[in-house]
């Protein structure tokens, strides 16, 4: 049962990712990415990491991707022109990607041996995650939050640079 569900959601995930690349319109691509996020959340749920799954949906699918869609709507971005891709990408990129993924799968299979983790055996409960974040990895966690704070301050400084909205528009046009 778990294997069937894993394959279904894995298939949805890959199909969404491929669709993301094939779509012409930015909003269709963004929605494909939402599907990928949702399928990933389902995979986490299958692994017993229900907290991570919920956070994946709330943060990535529910907040970050909504902002993506919001920006696309705001800019009213139209369909993109197709260039057919560069020749370098076709000659080196695609085979390189295939070789890379095969290598990675081989290494993972080789080194994990035959030991596999039972479903739900990993600590995925909110308590376990909270203990890891606020006890074992407290310093990295707090340092990351300061890093995010610096990024926010940078965004505020950049966005607040223009004195008034009308002047910003004049600058853009002039």
């Amino acid at each position: 049962m778990h294997l069937i569900l894993f394959l279904i959601f894995g298939g949805v995930c890959v199909a969404g990712a491929v669709n993301l690349l094939l779509q012409h319109h930015p909003i269709d691509s963004a929605l494909s990415l939402v599907v990928v996020m949702g399928a990933l959340a389902a995979e986490y749920l299958l692994l017993g990491a229900e907290f991570v799954a919920a956070v994946q949906v709330i943060v990535y699918a529910g907040a970050i991707m909504v902002l993506f869609v919001f920006v696309i709507m705001l800019l009213n971005a139209g369909e993109e022109a197709r260039s057919g891709g560069s020749r370098v990408a076709w000659i080196f990129g695609v085979p390189g990607m295939l070789i890379g993924s095969v290598l990675m799968a081989w290494v993972l299979l080789k080194h994990s041996g035959n030991s596999h983790v039972e479903v739900g055996a990993l600590p995925g409960s909110p308590q376990a995650i909270g203990w890891l974040l606020f006890h074992d990895y407290l310093l990295p966690f707090e340092v990351t939050s300061i890093l995010v704070l610096i990024a926010i301050m940078g965004a505020v400084v950049l966005a607040g640079h223009a004195q008034s909205p009308t002047r910003a528009i004049e600058k853009k046009e002039g």
Binding site: I27, A54, V57, G62, V66, P126
Partner: protein
């Protein structure tokens, strides 16, 4: 309980809850028309059935038989999918709401009065409501109408802004109960202090600040007056659902009222003690009384919703954003810090 029996009981529960939810959605609309009517010195619906009680059925038939227009130059797929997204996520979140205690029909058949009890119930509801934004945002964009687009943009900006205050206002309750499971949160609120006052979070945990933050953020999340800027009739025609007709429009309508009911259920569970209340009498009464308390609390919450609609004017957009970011957010953070400090000092 065997697997077959479990599936049978689950299917019956799902069908029953779904039926009750849809009926409740229809009659919340009726209640709103009636109450707002009386507040404005009108009668509200009176013609169809006694007290206009069959009005929702008449409306349903009307929606089904109306011509389903699709305007030219819309993004066809998203235009059709948007109302479905909105209504599906609004209706699904009822799945983790607990209505009452465990019930045993016989020695082998026993079940909680809830479709499913998961240990991240609250997060599931938050996740589903945050996905519901797509329905509104995409309907606004795909309609190829500037009023729809403005409505969709306003709705998504507003919902993202108030989701933060909403989420933070719930953390205080989570600290007090120590669980994401809605059933455990309710069980943590059973009992009394000082003999008479129930141990609900709104009284006992000092979470009344959180309750008011939740109340205001929830009004904004469901796009209701005084936060109904996404569908402000005076400036945007009808906002994101301007171009929708017939059943597609009804789906947005159902989504809005289903969201109101979910928000009411969540407020009841988190702050008003869920199904807790005085219980007495024979077994069947003991089973039904908690459900009655739960429904009564949700009804009171819905009535306040309608009351506010009949009372307050709409915010201006800059007021809405300033209120969310500069008042509700700092207040909810302060509430969180104080609650955490008190709990830490007590333990």
């Amino acid at each position: 309980m065997s697997v077959g029996l479990f599936i049978l009981v689950s299917v019956i529960k799902i069908a029953l809850v779904f039926f009750i939810l849809l009926t409740a959605v229809a009659y919340t609309v009726w209640l709103e028309r009636k109450v707002v009517g009386h507040m404005q010195n009108r009668w509200g619906p009176t013609r169809v059935g006694p007290f206009g009680l069959l009005q929702p059925a008449a409306d349903g038939v009307k929606f089904l038989f109306k011509e389903d227009l699709t305007p030219p130059h819309v993004h066809k797929t998203l235009y059709i999918a948007a109302p479905m997204i909105a209504v599906v996520f609004a209706l699904t979140s009822i799945a983790v709401i607990p209505f009452g205690n465990w019930v045993s029909i016989s020695d082998t058949i026993y079940t909680p009065l809830q479709i499913t009890d998961v240990n991240i119930g609250l997060l599931i509801i938050l996740g589903l409501t945050s996905l519901g934004v797509y329905g509104i945002a995409l309907s606004g964009w795909s309609s190829n109408n500037k009023y729809s687009l403005l409505g969709g943009l306003r709705a998504s900006a507003q919902m993202i802004s108030y989701e933060i205050a909403l989420g933070l206002s719930l953390v205080g309750v989570l600290i007090l109960s120590g669980s994401f499971s809605l059933r455990e949160i309710v069980q943590a609120q059973s009992g009394h202090f000082w003999g008479i006052i129930p141990k609900w979070n709104i009284f006992y945990g000092g979470q009344f600040v959180a309750f008011f933050i939740y109340l205001m953020a929830a009004y904004a999340e469901t796009n209701r007056i005084p936060f109904d800027l996404p569908e402000a009739e005076t400036e945007l025609v009808a906002g994101y659902h301007t171009e929708y007709s017939a059943m597609k429009f009804a789906m947005f309508f159902m989504a809005e009222y289903a969201n109101m009911i979910t928000v009411g259920c969540l407020a009841t569970i988190l702050f008003l003690g869920g199904w807790n209340g005085p219980i007495f009498g024979p077994y069947i009464v003991q089973v039904l009384l908690p459900v009655f308390y739960f429904v009564a609390k949700v009804f009171a919450f819905l009535f306040i919703y309608i009351w506010v609609r009949g009372t307050l004017p709409r915010f201006r957009y800059d007021q809405l954003m300033a209120f969310g970011w500069k008042f509700l957010l700092p207040l909810s953070i302060a509430n969180l810090v104080v609650t955490a400090l008190v709990v830490a000092l007590k333990s």
